[in-house]
């Protein structure tokens, strides 16, 4: 029992070293990670709003929060390609972040899943790219569908669910339909 102070001291020392190393590594990698995320978002925006680039995309904000993005074909911002917005879905084991691009009629141009931590081999197939192809087959299905009305095949819709990953598929699909409906309201209020 007189070992307890010695044990406590040793454990505290080890924990201090561990915490210190982690704090240091975190400090070094934080700016890099932030840059990666920003780059990823930029790439995703150009992908879901085809024909746009960094100079032709405008973020529409309210009280410091980005509501949605407007994408134009030209720098003068006269030819509207469409809108892009973020969808947060409660997946099977993680929050799934998806960027959705729609045209002014609400038809989906493209989607890109930004982050997810679903079950490897099942839910993660939402980002799977088949050999010989360049885009995710599951996400490609969303293009040209009506954003406010999509649902998975199990709910009578057109989106083919991933085998063995119904929850993931449904979460993303219904998340997009719900958010798209809200975004339409928000866009109307802003114009």
């Amino acid at each position: 029992m007189k070992d307890i102070p010695r044990f406590a001291a040793t454990l505290t020392f080890v924990a201090l070293i561990a915490a210190g190393s982690l704090a240091w590594i975190n400090k070094i990698t934080k700016p890099k990670i932030l840059t990666q995320q920003q780059n990823e978002l930029k790439n995703a925006l150009s992908y879901v709003l085809p024909g746009t680039d960094e100079g032709t995309i405008v973020a529409i904000e309210e009280e410091g929060e980005i509501l949605y993005y407007e994408g134009y074909r030209d720098r003068n911002k006269t030819h509207l390609v469409g809108y892009a917005f973020l969808v947060l879905s409660k997946g099977y084991s993680s929050t799934i972040r998806t960027l959705v691009g729609i045209d002014s009629a609400g038809t989906i141009l493209a989607i890109r899943i930004l982050s997810q931590k679903e079950t490897p081999g099942l839910g993660t197939r939402c980002e799977e790219i088949r050999s010989g192809e360049t885009t995710s087959w599951w996400q490609d299905q969303f293009s040209c569908k009506k954003s406010t009305e999509i649902s998975v095949d199990k709910d009578g819709g057109e989106i083919q669910s991933i085998t063995g990953a119904t929850i993931t598929s449904r979460a993303i699909t219904s998340g997009i339909a719900q958010r798209a409906t809200k975004i339409f309201q928000i866009i109307k209020n802003h114009r």
Binding site: D3, R6, F7, T10, L11, V14, A15, A18, S21, L22, I25, N26, I28, T29, K30, K32, I33, Q36, K117, T119, P120, G121, L122, T124, R130, S131, T163, G164
Partner: protein, 200 residues
């Protein structure tokens, strides 16, 4: 201590999955495709070698009664460091392997080797043991994933094996398929070992 033997034992004689039966949880979860298997195996090997190194380094300063919390702290710290460094400096690698890194903390092989070997042997042996065990783990994962991916998805490393008309056995991709595959493989290796012993 012949280093070659230390390395080789992790591959067959003391294979962490088929003989020591450690780390079966992530093995079941991640062996559904060969690509995932290679990713998990590589990441786990890196953490195993690093933690074996550090634990062997501090082995004379660790009071035996509190060794487990200390080992776990070391292992979890390494896993987090790997996660952060990969996210910051190797973004493409992080995208493909990123999912497997947090899973490594619960991989019993790491704690198992720390306890059984690294805490009692010098640094070089511990590193080689880590490499051998890691390689054996990766090999086991790839063998299991080969069966599961070919029969459960019709592909190997994403390349179609049977052609478009193949009806995949969904069971193989799910947990029961994993259990069955691992069970049969363990039975096979046990049978191999019995034959080897009998013929001596």
């Amino acid at each position: 201590m012949i280093l070659g033997k230390e390395f080789a034992k992790g591959i067959y004689k003391d294979n962490p999955v088929f003989r020591l039966m450690l780390g079966l949880c992530p093995v079941l979860a991640v062996s559904s495709s060969v690509n995932n298997a290679i990713g998990m195996g590589s990441a786990a090997t890196f953490v195993l070698v690093s933690s074996n190194f550090v634990i062997s380094l501090i082995r004379n300063f660790v009071p035996p009664k509190i060794r487990i919390p200390i080992f776990i702290t070391v292992i979890a710290t390494f896993v987090t460091i790997v996660e952060l460094v990969m996210a910051g400096f190797f973004p493409t690698l992080s995208k493909s392997l990123g999912l497997f890194i947090p899973l490594i903390v619960v991989n019993c092989i790491i704690l198992g080797r720390a306890e059984a070997f690294a805490s009692k042997n010098h640094i070089l042996s511990s590193v080689v043991d880590g490499l051998g065990m890691g390689f054996g783990f990766t090999l086991a994962l790839v063998i299991i994933a080969t069966f599961r991916e070919i029969f459960g998805n019709g592909t190997w490393l994403g390349i179609s094996v049977f052609g478009p008309r193949f009806e995949p056995v969904l069971l193989m991709i799910l947990s029961p398929g994993a259990f069955l595959t691992i069970g049969f493989l363990i039975a096979f290796f046990n049978w191999l070992e019995n034959r080897r012993l009998v013929s001596h």
